[in-house]
């Protein structure tokens, strides 16, 4: 699993202002959220494919190809079971649920809750297929959005974007520091795993839970190493004036250019179109008969 997905290509998407990129993330979520119909989700999917081609993000999509496939398949299946509206195309009987009940004795507000006493079956309908597949595509598009964002945005750009969106400086700093510490901690863990293996410790013994438990001796040194760093890091930060309330200056400047304004306008238009698709009912899966 790659830690950083950023691909340094220097395309116009890479050069966009960080705030525009964070805004693009929100607009993609917004657009995808309003529609259920797989056909209505197609245009925004095509836009993402175009951006992936433009930014050369295909290696990241290739790495996550199984995640995309699993996400679409399992989400479709899950909603096939839970969303059972419309005329059944066919029915799959699962089991008979015995009747159950429980009473809440609250005087005149007493109530008895009852459930069960009927066969449990999955009614596969045209609507449930469309809804389930639409949900699968929707989640895949959300994943694609985050892959595109990470492929084209550096961590410092992300935190800069958050700060411009009024996220407090200290919160932005903690997010940025955490992002940077992740690969360091993974590296330490890998070193400790190698050292333990050299000493003959077998991480692959036992069932799944036993295997996970065998990693406890790896987590403890990583944890203690991290805590040792914490004190020094805090002192270094305070020595550089981190304790002051005013916002610190930065070497990184991101001027707003014409491409940013054009991208911003295009994103507003995309968000508005998708809201209209919802509002007019075009983005839905149609009436349930």
């Amino acid at each position: 699993m790659p830690i950083y997905l950023y691909i340094d290509r220097g395309t116009f998407v890479h050069r966009l202002h960080p705030t525009v990129k964070v805004f693009a993330l929100f607009v993609m979520f917004w657009s995808v959220y309003w529609v259920d119909n797989p056909v209505a989700l197609l245009p925004v999917g095509l836009v993402m494919l175009w951006i992936a081609q433009l930014t050369g993000s295909w290696p990241n999509f290739y790495r996550l190809r199984w995640l995309f496939a699993i996400l679409i398949f399992t989400t479709s299946m899950m909603w096939l079971v839970f969303y059972q509206l419309g005329e059944p195309l066919f029915t799959i009987s699962l089991f008979y649920m015995n009747p159950h009940s429980f009473s809440v004795p609250l005087g005149r507000f007493s109530h008895t809750f009852r459930w069960g006493g009927h066969p449990v079956a999955v009614n596969v309908t045209w609507q449930s297929i469309k809804f389930g597949f639409g949900r699968g595509i929707k989640l895949a598009e959300l994943l694609a959005t985050s892959v595109l964002f990470l492929s084209t945005t550096k961590i410092e750009e992300f935190t800069y974007g958050l700060q411009r969106m009024r996220v407090p400086y200290r919160v932005g700093f903690a997010i940025s520091l955490a992002f940077r510490l992740v690969p360091l901690f993974i590296d330490s863990a890998v070193t400790i795993v190698d050292a333990q293996r050299l000493r003959g410790y077998d991480f692959n013994q036992g069932g799944p839970f036993e295997r996970i438990r065998r990693y406890v001796p790896v987590v403890i040194p990583v944890f203690m190493g991290a805590l040792r760093k914490a004190n020094n890091m805090a002192m270094a930060l305070e020595a550089r004036g981190f304790g002051y309330t005013h916002e610190p200056t930065t070497f990184i400047e991101y001027p707003v250019g014409s491409a940013d304004i054009a991208a911003f306008a295009a994103l507003i238009a995309l968000g508005a179109i998708y809201f209209l698709l919802y509002y007019t009912g075009v983005g839905g899966i149609g009436p349930v008969k």
């Binding site: 699993m1 830690i3 997905l5 993330l25 979520f29 959220y33 995640l67 699993i70 996400l71 398949f73 399992t74 989400t75 899950m78 909603w79 839970f82 969303y83 509206l85 809750f113 009852r114 459930w115 069960g116 949900r135 989640l139 959300l142 994943l143 959005t145 985050s146 892959v147 200290r170 919160v171 700093f173 903690a174 997010i175 520091l177 955490a178 992002f179 510490l181 992740v182 901690f185 993974i186 863990a189 799944p208 839970f209 996970i212 438990r213 406890v216 987590v219 403890i220 990583v222 944890f223 203690m224 991290a226 805590l227 914490a230 004190n231 805090a234 305070e238 981190f242 304790g243 349930v288």
Partner: protein, 272 residues
């Protein structure tokens, strides 16, 4: 650093107050990074594909909560957000952020109420029982928030997410966290890096209020879990709601019935 005039805050402001303490900010980032560092490699081991993956990392917020208190709460939320970036972000991750915030916030708050001065690494039956209660309280509200949020946005049904998350959280909290905590807690305590040492200015509310808060938390999260499951699986059709509302994906009934329980749980948490 915190000015002298600002001492004596009550426990509810801990989450805000910790941002003024540089050490707590660093511990927040470290908690987040540790959580994400274990979370990211296991993104490829799905427990239920497309729903959730095997998350041994869920032991980290529990451990950090007992050590770093409010810094662990924010660290848990940020760490989960970083993890989400590697498995796909969605609007539902906003609920994931707050769910992980409470997952890192509840264990130490509950321990302050039921712990009665006992160490979380004590091996007495009562300490073990209290530890399980603290972890279960955190896991259930975390699951409620994600299940409720994802069902409101019609991303995934409550009955699917709500239960898987409790199982996942409790498996890590019971099988992994106690071992890590037993090894780390005495050292951190000796190094005076526990949250109580870092933020001595935080006052606790009177015990009676905290017990009321704890009861509200338990009632709220249990009610949310129960009714969320019954509604989203279509097993209970409340007669006081219009029949047109009682159709899959049950987002509106969940909004109307489960939301008050979630609010009750949060009100209890703030009182603690």
């Amino acid at each position: 650093m915190i000015a002298e005039s600002e001492t004596g805050f009550e426990s509810t402001s801990e989450l805000r107050l910790m941002w003024r303490n540089t050490r707590m900010v660093v511990l927040c980032a470290i908690s987040a990074a540790l959580y994400a560092a274990v979370l990211v490699p296991f993104k490829v081991v799905p427990l239920i594909p497309g729903v959730t993956e095997l998350r041994p990392a869920n032991a980290i917020p529990i451990v950090c909560s007992f050590l770093f208190g409010p810094a662990a709460a924010w660290g848990s939320a940020i760490g989960n957000m970083i993890g989400d970036f590697f498995g796909g972000v969605s609007p539902g991750d906003i609920f994931g952020f707050f769910a992980n915030l409470v997952y890192g916030w509840i264990p130490y708050k509950v321990w302050q109420v039921i712990g009665r001065g006992e160490s979380p690494v004590a091996r007495t039956p009562s300490a073990i029982l209290k530890y399980v209660i603290a972890c279960l309280a955190a896991s259930v509200l975390c699951a409620d928030l994600v299940g409720w949020g994802d069902n409101l946005l019609v991303i995934r049904p409550f009955a699917m997410l709500g239960n898987v998350i409790i199982f996942n959280n409790m498996a890590s909290a019971l099988l992994l966290a106690p071992f890590i905590l037993a090894a780390v807690y005495p050292r951190v305590k000796k190094g005076r890096m526990l949250y109580e040492d870092m933020m001595p200015e935080v006052k606790r509310r009177p015990m009676a209020i905290r017990i009321v808060g704890f009861s509200m938390l338990i009632a709220g999260e249990t009610g949310a879990w129960l009714f969320g499951n019954l509604l989203s699986a279509g097993l209970w059709m409340p007669t006081f709601l219009p029949a047109a509302m009682m159709v899959a994906p049950y987002d509106k009934p969940i909004a109307i019935i489960v939301s008050p329980f979630i609010l009750l749980a949060f009100a209890g948490l703030f009182l603690m």
